[in-house]
């Protein structure tokens, strides 16, 4: 911190230094990768504008309108630098280990080192960089006679590709793992890969394919024994498929089995924590699909109580906001979504912000705000800035397009829906595409 004399500090222009909005800061700075961690930290440190709390614009505020004290930016820098230093140290260490492994002609060690780099980048949310490390790691795998050595890298690569919304790559990697594991009678990797491939099919709305993958996973999961978490994951995922296909009783039965298997497989503490959060959230979604909104609300509240991970808390908060919105409790829905926004920002789970802004936009529209579209615009901006998957963009355009149609702008609405349909078609998301096309024909 620069030295200042007391007299200088007391000068009014310094003492009353203007707070800046995140938006103003973003418009000021160039969009370069090196500034991204600092900007994320600035957004996390920003506060809602108290003066606008009761203004008409207060309910429409997003991260862009949150305020930052310029002095605080100086204070944030050491922390950001330290985190970046640690991160770079991990990456450089992984690179150094890979170089030594190459010199030692040890492709397996090089693969492990590069995989560690991929995991470090993934943990930072740098999906493109993580993918580059995975590609490099898999390149080393081709030098190995035993392809099974590549299984952990392929599985991590599939997960990263799935997180980035690159579903074809994710599916291809899972299937490769499945083939290798099947030949080697490797139940663990086969179960993980079959369930993972099923999950990718769920992401794409390919329910029949998802069921097929989960059926394929079943015997491998059984071989892992009752304590393997894959057992309850599988049942829970089946309940999701059944729910999406409208077979709600069956969804409930799968959910019950998932609960039983989770209780068998988890410690008491886990059952009370994250496991309960996941199960209660899924239960809430089934109840919501059955139209039992009050019960769904209770389930989501239980899930929120149990959830420990911020990303889970944000998603459950959004689900709860959706139920409250369905019930016309727009004030509570808005507050719940606001809490989720606050958490997404302060806990650095910004990839969840678009889903938060989509529900906030719908809440604002339900509350009669003519300018509710600002939330959809902000969601699109976050998706672009954070390099989030195209699927997120399609989902936002779908909600935005429907909103435009409802507010009397059919041409704009149709154009947005067309763009959403184009993306969904390219990604092969059949169910979502059908839904968007039905909206276009309305």
């Amino acid at each position: 911190m620069p030295y200042r004399s007391a007299t200088w500090i007391l000068e009014p222009d310094i003492a009353e230094m203007k707070h800046l909005s995140v938006e103003e800061i973003r418009r000021l700075l160039p969009e370069v990768e090196a500034l991204r961690p600092l900007l994320d930290e600035v957004a996390a440190a920003a506060r809602p504008d108290a003066e606008r709390r009761w203004a008409g614009s207060g309910e429409l505020g997003t991260v862009g309108e949150r305020l930052v004290d310029p002095e605080e930016v100086d204070e944030l820098i050491p922390g950001v630098l330290e985190r970046m230093r640690e991160h770079l140290a991990t990456l450089y260490d992984s690179a150094a280990r890979a170089i030594h492994a190459l010199a030692d002609d040890d492709p397996r060690a090089a693969l492990d080192a590069l995989l560690a780099g991929a995991e470090a980048e993934w943990a930072m949310g740098h999906l493109r960089q993580a993918e580059a490390f995975i590609e490099a790691a898999l390149g080393q795998a081709t030098r190995l006679p035993d392809r099974r050595v590549a299984l952990p890298a392929l599985i991590t690569g599939a997960r990263i590709a799935r997180a980035a919304g690159r579903w074809e790559t994710a599916e291809a990697r899972y299937l490769k793992v499945l083939a290798l594991a099947r030949d080697a009678e490797d139940a663990q990797h086969a179960a993980t890969a079959a369930v993972g491939a099923g999950n990718v099919a769920v992401d794409r709305g390919l329910w029949e394919l998802a069921r097929m993958r989960y059926d394929e996973a079943e015997p491998w999961v059984r071989r892992l024994g009752p304590e393997a978490p894959e057992g309850w994951h599988l049942e829970l995922n089946r309940s999701i498929v059944a729910r999406e296909e409208g077979r709600l009783l069956e969804a409930g039965e799968h959910w019950e089995r998932a609960k039983e298997r989770a209780e068998e497989a988890s410690t008491g503490e886990e059952v009370e924590g994250e496991v309960r959060a996941i199960l209660s959230n899924a239960r809430g979604q089934i109840l919501q699909a059955r139209g039992l909104d009050p019960d769904a609300e209770v389930a989501f509240r239980h899930a929120l109580e149990a959830a420990r991970r911020p990303d889970a808390q944000v998603t459950i908060g959004v689900n709860l906001a959706e139920v409250l919105l369905e019930k016309g409790r727009t004030l509570e829905a808005g507050q719940m979504a606001r809490d989720a926004e606050e958490l997404a920002l302060t806990a650095h789970v910004t990839p969840r912000l678009p889903e938060v802004y989509r529900v906030l936009g719908r809440v604002a529209a339900a509350r009669g705000h003519a300018d509710a579209f600002v939330f959809f615009e902000r969601a699109l901006e976050v998706i672009r800035e954070q390099g989030l998957p195209d699927f997120e963009r399609a989902r936002t355009l779908e909600v935005y397009g429907r909103y435009d149609q409802q507010r009397g702008e059919p041409d704009t609405g149709r154009a947005r829906l067309q763009e959403a349909a184009r993306i969904l078609g390219r990604l092969g998301c059949r169910t979502a595409l059908d839904r968007v096309q039905a909206l276009m024909n309305e």
Partner: protein, 451 residues
């Protein structure tokens, strides 16, 4: 015990008044002379009072005398032969609410008696079918009466209107009322919040855009000016607009035409602009943050809206209105509320004005049990700006730059120090399983011997 209505009315109105009282389930005492009427009032101060403004011994003076009775006295209803804006304003000034027209109609009077009726220990809501739809300007006190008068004046003109007042005072409702009472009422009412929309989108929202004018301009779009053609455009929070856009608004007002972003030909628009602000625009003008020429263009008619704390005489009416409104929205039967609730609400400073009160009643209606709002159902001040999690941490002794991991590490060390390093006890305090604590201690690099 049923409430009493004491009335000073002419003989012709007595029959209808008695029928209304019977319909509303109250007792009825009619007087034709002022003196016994006032004596009856003194004996039964909580009675509902009906005064005919056209009565030879009644009139506005006597009604004013009744209106000045101490707080806690029964409500005043007034009636008059014929209706005029002046009489309606007199009724509002007296806190009498709706002016009842003579000859009295039993059903109308009964409805008004029920609406204003108080029951022992609480305030009863009107019947669901009598509840007004939102939006509606509510309040019959003198401050609102002034606003209503200004609305009537502004509605008759065609020049711009500038509404000022704190956030949450109902500026959009007033803008709608001006639109609804003026010649343009059959045209559209379009609102835009200039503070809510990011600068780079605001211009296209106001003036429209051509397809492809910028990234995201997926189709040709009409701006709000064009959509408000033939009607009224509310520019809410106009003080937050940039100087560049202020210049464009001024041009639109002066020339009656706008140009779409990316467009080449201007479009004629016939729009009455109502601007609203929660800022002191004169100060913004003095500080060169708001264009003086635009200010004078907008401030031809000015209406200042009072904050709720300065019109607490309307609080009860507002509470009844919102409680009734939300009971219908949520399909919850709410018959009334405790008088203590009103006392609590009167004690609050209402920084968010009517918008804040609306939120309080929204929650209260959802929480209340047995169809009655009680003090425990009401949380006042819950909508105060929340501190961010960083500020909360700072308040608890961590600097705002502390990461969650550092806080976790620090807290685990403190708890281990407190338990003399006994992991089982520490885990119990932390509310986590012992194995989880062991894992966290290892992951966070805590030397469990160190405390």
């Amino acid at each position: 015990m049923p409430r009493t209505v004491i009335g000073l009315i002419s003989q012709e109105g007595e029959g209808e008044a008695a029928a209304a009282a019977e319909e509303a389930g109250v007792r009825w005492h009619a007087f034709r002379r002022a003196s016994p009427f006032l004596q009856a009032l003194a004996e039964e101060p909580e009675a509902i009072v009906l005064v005919s403004l056209g009565h030879p011994e009644g009139g506005p003076e006597l009604a004013a005398k009744v209106a000045e009775r101490p707080e806690g006295s029964g409500p005043l209803l007034v009636s008059a032969p014929g209706a005029s804006l002046e009489l309606a304003l007199t009724a509002r000034k007296l806190g009498a609410g709706l002016l009842l027209r003579e000859p009295l109609v039993a059903s109308e009077l009964a409805r008004e008696i029920r609406r204003r009726s108080r029951i022992e220990g609480g305030i009863r809501l009107p019947d669901p079918e009598e509840l007004a739809d939102e939006p509606e300007l509510v309040g019959s006190g003198p401050a609102m009466a002034r606003v209503v008068r200004s609305i009537a004046e502004a509605a008759g003109a065609s020049s711009p209107v500038l509404l000022s007042g704190e956030s949450g005072t109902g500026k959009e409702l007033v803008a709608r009322a001006i639109h609804g009472a003026g010649d343009r009422r059959t045209g559209p009412f379009v609102a835009i919040n200039c503070a809510a929309i990011p600068e780079h989108l605001l211009e296209s929202e106001l003036f429209g855009h051509e397809r492809g004018a910028f990234t995201g301009a997926v189709a040709r779009k009409e701006g709000r000016f064009q959509r408000a053609h033939g009607g009224t455009l509310l520019l809410d929070e106009v003080g937050d607009m940039s100087l560049i856009l202020q210049a464009k608004i001024l041009r639109a007002l002066e020339e009656g035409q706008v140009e779409r972003v990316g467009g080449t030909s201007p479009v004629r628009v016939d729009v009455r602009v109502v601007a609203a602000t929660n800022r002191e625009l004169e100060e913004e003008v003095a500080a060169d943050e708001f264009r003086e020429d635009l200010y004078y263009r907008l401030a031809v008619n000015r209406i200042a809206l009072p904050p709720l704390r300065e019109r607490l005489e309307d609080l009860e009416e507002l509470v009844i209105h919102f409680a009734g409104y939300f009971s219908r929205v949520y399909g919850r039967r709410v018959e009334g509320l405790d008088r203590e609730v009103l006392r609590m609400l009167r004690a609050h400073s209402w920084p968010g004005n009517v918008r804040e009160l609306r939120n309080v009643l929204d929650r209260a209606v959802q929480r209340c049990q047995g169809g009655w709002i009680r003090p425990q159902d009401v949380t006042v001040g819950a909508d105060a700006p929340r501190v961010s999690s960083r500020e909360r941490t700072a308040a608890e002794g961590y600097p705002p730059t502390t990461s969650l991991e550092e806080v976790e590490r620090d807290h685990i060390i403190r708890v281990l120090a407190y338990t003399d390093g006994v992991m089982a006890d520490a885990a119990e305090i932390l509310g986590i399983h012992r194995n989880t604590l062991t894992r966290r201690v290892r992951a966070l690099g805590i030397d469990s011997e160190s405390p």
